[in-house]
Symmetry: C2
Subunit: 476 residues, 2 copies
């Protein structure tokens, strides 16, 4: 906790601005040096340059690794690499853990194998497992080779779980004790440690086979008379996890039971690792629904245009196909439109409002799924409710729009078609808005991912089809 | 921690299903009783009825308040109230804290003043402050009147802060100690407590005026020899907050520095309260970007159709205005469309892809703002980058669509207009996608709220205007 400034937030913005100023000066001097012929290097300039970098380096040394990570995220590529080179090598590992995947990649690109191996060497098994997927093959095998067998097994075990499984975020550092000793003995035992693992709020009570018998919170340890036995004081009812539980569920449990740490058990109830609240907070913050609604993976703010485009194209391509499909739906009614051009001006309203109401439904459903409030038992009721709202909206707003259409074009029939199309398309939007995320969840997928693109594809195509179809039947 | 089952997640779904079954049986029996004349009540049925409710009640007693809250969220209105009546009164307070605002409202509606006052009486000052905004005026004043003066002052202080300020989530329960005592004395002092406040990982070291001198982590307390003084062992560099700091910034700090608790200080650095990680986790989970993107407040999944509609209408009304505007833009070009109906089929592609690429930009920017990666220093670069991506996308995908338009309608000029319109509209989308959230943030508002509606309003209207405008100039 040392080195952490008091007014965290304001100070951070200030620090970032100071670093940006130093970097600006750095670029300026570099530019000047570059313009002159290399032989004519001004000694004074070189000195200023060095001083500037030294000041920058000093400032970085005083920052918490998490703050350096944040600075790196906020800097454009070139500046980022300048700062990265100035960071002391022994802090590289910690910082690599803190940055986002996208920025980590950009930092690793600039390091040679030796540097990466050195950085990885400073990390615990669970942190190493976080980093491993981003490391080049030969670097990873070298790092793994240098580990103790026990630690290597831990890394391999952590690597064998998917990103959304508890096994991928658990850590292996923990304190276990026996049930048949006194609290005084536990206190003596703890004093032999130089530090406890982060977020240690409880000790795990195990038998010879490491089977979990209970947990002893530090609170119980501190509040009870030292002569009492661990077994008398420990809690036996413990929230525990298995490594193949979903991270989302673990987050839910941490939130519900206000946990700081919890044991991870294997099939025989043996303690193999630990989950901590800081990893849960990370998991929640990384899991951004809105990014996945837009069909994006996390993106480095300053990656190259080309790289960013690659992140965005898959989903854009899908969108272009669906837009083309909607366009073909309209194309099928060209004769109707030629007959009554007003239809072309009104049709985007039907599709647009459909998309909007559907998005409202879909976001509420995705949230309900994430919080575990939607069950097989209650989804039928939800459908009824959403269809009801859609009917209400369709009649009210469709009615208003029908009146406007009549006012603009003086045709009662056009107004009626407008209203009918709104009612029907909002029903489509409500159904799709519920069924798409629920189905995705049932198939074991992220219910947010791409839901909204599928939704607008339906509300656009169906909106045009319903409106122009009704118009063709009743107006021509 | 007692009463918490082991396999949390699976068990919860099972429990919920069992409760749903019991409720179903309850409804069935009630229905039968209702159908028969009241006089003919079958004694056996009454017995079954009572047994059923007793079983339900027993099952609820065994659940953690957070789990009961989750059950209540997942149940339709009528069932929810049945369950709520069966919950033992002394647990009402805790449960009211755990449910979402929308559900809390529905539960309070069914309680009389006396019940609410009793429930509120079981709560701490900070929890009471959470509940207060939802309580009827006269109930609140009665509850406040029954408090000790010190506690009343705490509730009032917590109520004076906005929802997004640290003051609204801080709690007042904490342990403070002096610097000039030995660790042994601290250990003796702690043993006088029946329990420590939740999430206590450190004690606050203060002087006579409650000025913060440092913090003593339980870890340091346990690991150091008891004869040492608090002042020698405590950490002096402490992450602390002020009650008017933003909750978002506090979440960032908790995440960055892996905090479990932190002191809240007044202007004179006196300790007034405490922030804990469980409240941070709550705050992150409640703050759903995607809900606010869709312009929604949190909604009870089973509120009435009428209430839900009220939650959704403000935004829908805005959307209808913008859709109407876009429709009028098209209306201005009716002559052009009458001349070339193909334009009506192609125009939604231009507006749709614009909306989609803009949404990608906006979600990345909102995320960057939330994580603090976007600063005044780097936003100019972001604009350049996004405009670059938009240009690339416009040329590539606009080109593809131009070719398709040519293939469909055999006019080179139409294809060229299509491509040009795509390039221009994607530039609009990129600019709006960056500037809207950044401006909202500068104005001190939630950058997500409504951003996406504003964006599609622009990409729709501008998309139609650019495409039809170019067509009018070059194709007619």
């Amino acid at each position: 906790m040392s080195n952490v400034s008091r007014k965290t937030q304001e100070n951070f913005q200030e620090t970032l601005q100071q670093i940006e100023r130093l970097l600006q000066r750095h670029r300026l001097i570099e530019g000047m040096v570059h313009k002159q012929s290399m032989a004519k290097h001004d000694l004074v300039e070189q000195l200023v340059h060095k001083q500037n970098l030294a000041e920058l380096s000093l400032r970085l040394d005083r920052l918490h690794p998490a703050d350096i990570a944040k600075v790196l995220e906020a800097l454009p590529r070139a500046d980022r690499l300048t700062v990265w080179e100035l960071v002391r090598a022994e802090r590289d590992g910690e910082i690599l853990l803190e940055v986002s995947d996208a920025v980590r990649e950009s930092l690793l690109e600039g390091m040679d194998s030796g540097e990466i191996i050195a950085a990885a060497g400073t990390l615990d098994a669970d942190d190493l497992a976080d980093l491993a997927p981003d490391l080049p093959e030969h670097v990873l095998s070298e790092v793994m080779g240098a580990l103790e067998p026990a630690e290597r097994a831990q890394v391999q075990s952590a690597l064998s779980y998917r990103d959304d499984e508890v096994g991928s975020v658990m850590d292996f550092d923990m304190v276990t004790i026996r049930a048949d000793v006194s609290l005084a003995a536990v206190l003596r035992y703890l004093r032999r440690f130089a530090a406890l693992p982060e977020n240690t709020d409880k000790l795990f009570v195990v038998d010879r086979e490491r089977t979990l018998l209970g947990v002893l919170s530090l609170e119980k340890l501190l509040l009870n008379p030292p002569r009492r036995q661990v077994g008398e004081v420990m809690a036996r009812d413990v929230v525990s996890f298995s490594p193949d539980n979903r991270v989302d569920d673990a987050v839910n449990a941490f939130d519900r039971y206000d946990l700081v740490s919890a044991p991870v058990l294997d099939a025989n109830r043996r303690v193999i690792a630990r989950l901590t609240v800081d990893d849960m907070l990370d998991a929640v913050r990384e899991d951004s629904e809105s990014l996945s609604l837009a069909g994006l993976k996390d993106e480095d703010l300053f990656s190259s245009i080309w790289k960013s485009a690659q992140n965005r194209w898959p989903w854009l391509a899908v969108n272009i196909c669906t837009a083309f499909l909607a366009s073909r739906v309209i194309g099928a009614f060209e004769a109707t439109i030629a007959h009554l051009v007003a239809l072309a001006t009104l049709m985007p309203i039907v599709s647009g409002i459909g998309g909007n109401t559907g998005t409202q439904t879909i976001t509420l459903i995705i949230r309900g799924l994430a919080l575990g409030h939607i069950t097989p038992g209650n989804s039928a009721r939800l459908i009824v409710k959403e269809l009801g709202i859609a009917l209400l909206n369709g009649v009210v707003w469709g009615g208003v729009l029908g009146l406007i259409a009549f006012a603009l074009y003086g045709q009662w029939a056009l107004g009626a078609v407008m209203m009918a199309a709104m009612v029907l398309n909002l029903q489509v939007a409500a159904l799709v808005g519920i069924l798409v995320p629920i189905t995705m969840q049932k198939l074991g997928r992220d219910p947010a991912y791409g839901s909204s693109v599928l939704l607008t594809a339906m509300t656009d195509s169906m909106g045009f089809f319903i409106f122009l179809g009704l118009a063709t039947v009743f107006l021509t």
